[in-house]
């Protein structure tokens, strides 16, 4: 009988990514990188990194069915 493993991964990873998003864009860390004002495209880089992680999580969710 084909038993499948349990999945709570999709939910867990999405909440973790949400928290990571809050950390990147609404936390003292946000004000730290804003103070640096290093390059104009820094917020875009952080944003792209977060999107990449969301894509990986979505792919894993698909693989898990």
């Amino acid at each position: 009988m084909p038993f499948r493993p349990d999945h709570g991964r999709g939910l867990d990873s999405s909440v973790l990514l949400f928290l990571l998003g809050l950390f990147l864009f609404f936390s003292p860390f946000t004000f730290w990188w804003a103070e640096l004002a290093a390059v104009w495209y820094l917020p875009y880089l952080l944003w792209l990194g977060l999107i990449g992680l969301i894509a990986v999580a979505a792919r894993r969710e698909r693989d898990d069915g």
Binding site: H7, G8, F25, A37, W40, W47, I51, I54, A58
Partner: protein, 993 residues
Amino acid sequence: MTAELWILFLAGIGYLLVLFLIAYAAERGVIPSAVARHPLTYVLSLGVYATSWTYYGSVGFAQTDGYNFLTIYLGVTLTFALTPVLLKPILRLTRDYQLTSLADLLAFRYRSQLTGVVVTLFMLIGILPYISLQILAVTASIRSQTQAATSSALALGFCITLIVFAILFGARHASAREKHEGLVVAIAFESAVKLLALALVGGFAVFGLFGGFGGMEQWVARTPEALEALYAPMQQGPWLTLMLLAFTASFLLPRQFHMLFTENIEPRTLRYASWGFPLFLLVLNLPIVPVLWAGMAFPPGTNPDYYVLGVTLGSGAPWLATVAFLGGVSAASAMMIVETIALAAMCLNHLILPMSFPARAATYDNLYQRVLWWRRLLIAVIILAGYGFYLLLEANQGLVQLGLISFVAVAQFLPGILGLLFWRRATRVGFIGGLLAGAAVWSVTLLLPLLEQSGILGTTLHLQSWYGDTGTSRIVFGTFWSLAANSLCFVGLSVVTHQTAEESEAASICSRDVLPPRGVVAAASPQQFREQLARIVGPHTAEREVRQALADLALSETERRPTQLRRLRERIERNLSGLIGPLLARMVVDDRLQLDPDGKLALADTVRFLEEHLEESRSRLQGLAAELDKLRRYHRQVLQELPLAVCSLGPSQEIVIWNNAMERLSGLAAHEVSGVQLAELEEPWGALLRSFADAQEQHLYKLQVQIRARPRWFNLHKAAIEDSTALPPAAGGMVILIEDLTERQTLESELAHTARLASIGRLAAGVAHEIGNPLTGIASLAQNLRDESDQAAIRESIELIQQQIRRIADIVQSLVTFAHGGVPSERAMAPLGLAACVDEAVRLVRLSRAGKEINFANHCDPAIVIEGDRSRLVQVFVNLLTNACDASHPGSTVDIAAERDDAGESVRIVVRDHGSGIPEELQERVFEPFFTTKQPGQGTGLGLPLVYNIVSDHGGAVAIESAPGIGTSVTVRLPLHNETRGRGAALSQAGAR
């Protein structure tokens, strides 16, 4: 440089015509459906989020508030990061229950017409500034490019074009189950156009004005305050507020809700959108900073809100300015079209239809047409209302301020949505109270000041001292206090009030709790469903909805099972919800398809319901629940695969379990009989199981049942199942086990037959021996007496005696032959030609008087060689042909044919006559010794038993088929000779080819 007004006008009209063509091509199938279903199309269609606010206003926003402008898109990213938690459950609800708008969803959860009305009215008021913003942006962009005053007629023309488009491609289907592929593809195209246009403008700013990224970096190095101006506002600005507003707006704005959920063609595409849509927004926003800096470095003389247009005016390439303008038109038109369609659906379901139901709906000839016309009218009214609002507003209102005011309005639905998804205790009173409180604060802090600034209202409120005088700080102030009032009222009132039963049921559905169905439908057939529904929605709609629901569930018109009728009712409610909204749909089915509260729903229904929900929830089960689910599956599998037929019954004798063995035994599939009462079960099973269930006995042995005109033998066992949850424990039904004994019974009969034949053979041998000796003496004496007597009378009598003696001798000989038939002689076994064997038998039969009057046709292939005792096999055919002669009419034909079997192991010989035939009830007895269908004195009843014995001795088999009045076929199967077997198979295959 300025652009000519007529060029922009023609370009705008041309662009909208292209949009029409794309939508038309998609609706007609010229653009394949796969394109509309593609994840990329879905992602691009969500780009309707980016309106002229993004397209034009982001640059102005960045100029005043730096990187705060990004919060409007970062908030969206956070929403989409929560896709499995937030968006997927809403998509499931909207698809399962055909909910077409946010008002539908909230009214479905908080179960009241008032909820729908309040949500719709507030959404209308909240979104009108946003629609007027789009018109404002288009007219301002034209003014910015042409430096000419734009007339309100131009704005009106733009609005009328959008009304036509929205009606043609957004209101084609009355029901939400039909998706608008043309609309989806057209909106995706609009997103692609604005992305491309903004990328071109950004590219021109970097490479055309700065001379490349290096040039831009040098400018930034010379103007460090430009970079600081981007980052500095993050420290003091409304960062959190804007992110929260964007988080909410990304899925609760009517247009976002419409494209995300209502027009979602393939649910799987949502997973791609979780990262694809934020990526789209990132790419769309990349050019904003370069365009802003280009505007600062080379001031185009326009408001920063329109730098996107301004910087292109100095490009020397009029086409670039036109493309930039078209990007703005596409951003504004997409928003207005989708927003209006979504608002029209809300107004229809919660404002218009409730006024006409139920009294007038039944009088409509065609409810679908009526709904469509209402929707079209509402689309026109809403766009024109937006136009009216645009006329009232002062043209100098900031794009971002207008958009944010609508965002704060939409944010008022956030507590209700969170309650819908995560808080079962939330009540209707709490939701409406919270929404009204939030709306009141929003009106006072944001809407009234807007109207005051536009000169519509006199200055009556002086709130600036509370929140400062900048527009953004007013947004922060309004957001905080409106949401605070909303949330406090929502939670407080929910805690102190109680849910109705309906609300509680809806809360369970929204939180995916398992809630078994209760009650049975009073209507007893699909036809009665039609009759009942016709009284409230008219016969046309009733017919169409019942037919559609039957097709969705793969049920037939003859369906009578309470379980299935209950499912039919639910399906009709869901389908109607897509047409007239969830509340009216519920009202219709509650009114006309009433549930009998006293009717007990089949246990099978509950079992099926639980199993379906467990299957759906399988991936969500964790820990002990997951282990228990595994255990449940294991037990179920054991029951299903049990080699004994098992059937369990509910308290009212409805079938709950029907395992695989039971399916094989009865030929009835489990899904066909599940929930069926025993009294309605196909015969003979209904009568058999019902009588056994009602009987006192716990076991029945060797019960003979006629199934498809053949006898079968069963052992039946039953056990009562107590309902341990009831107090005191009550009968919960029973389980019945059926053992199929037919095969064993057949074997036993065969053995008994063989034993009887053997004993008769022994008896016959003894009798023949005992009679034969005195008979020989009598025959000799009679012959002597005949020789010695001269008197004719005496000689005649003696001849009669001799005749009778010969008859007795024949019988005795038959007995001897029969008795010795069971002892084959190894010596006599030899290869022999079947056709020759049959010919010999025919010659012998023709010697008799009956044989002379019959034609024999031997069709046997001379090449067929069998192995056996020639004389005994000739005897077999003589007996069969004699019987055939006796049964046939003079002049008729007896056919003898033979064919090899597929494996080439044996030959099948058929002797067929066209005579009187044998009655069915006698056919099974013809192989019994001394049984004959002939007249007394005509047969001994040993012919066929002898055939049976001889053929059995040769390792073959005999079978008989007969139809009275048509004829009889006796089939003899005999093994082929070893050496000819392979050749026989080869010949057989060659023949087949």
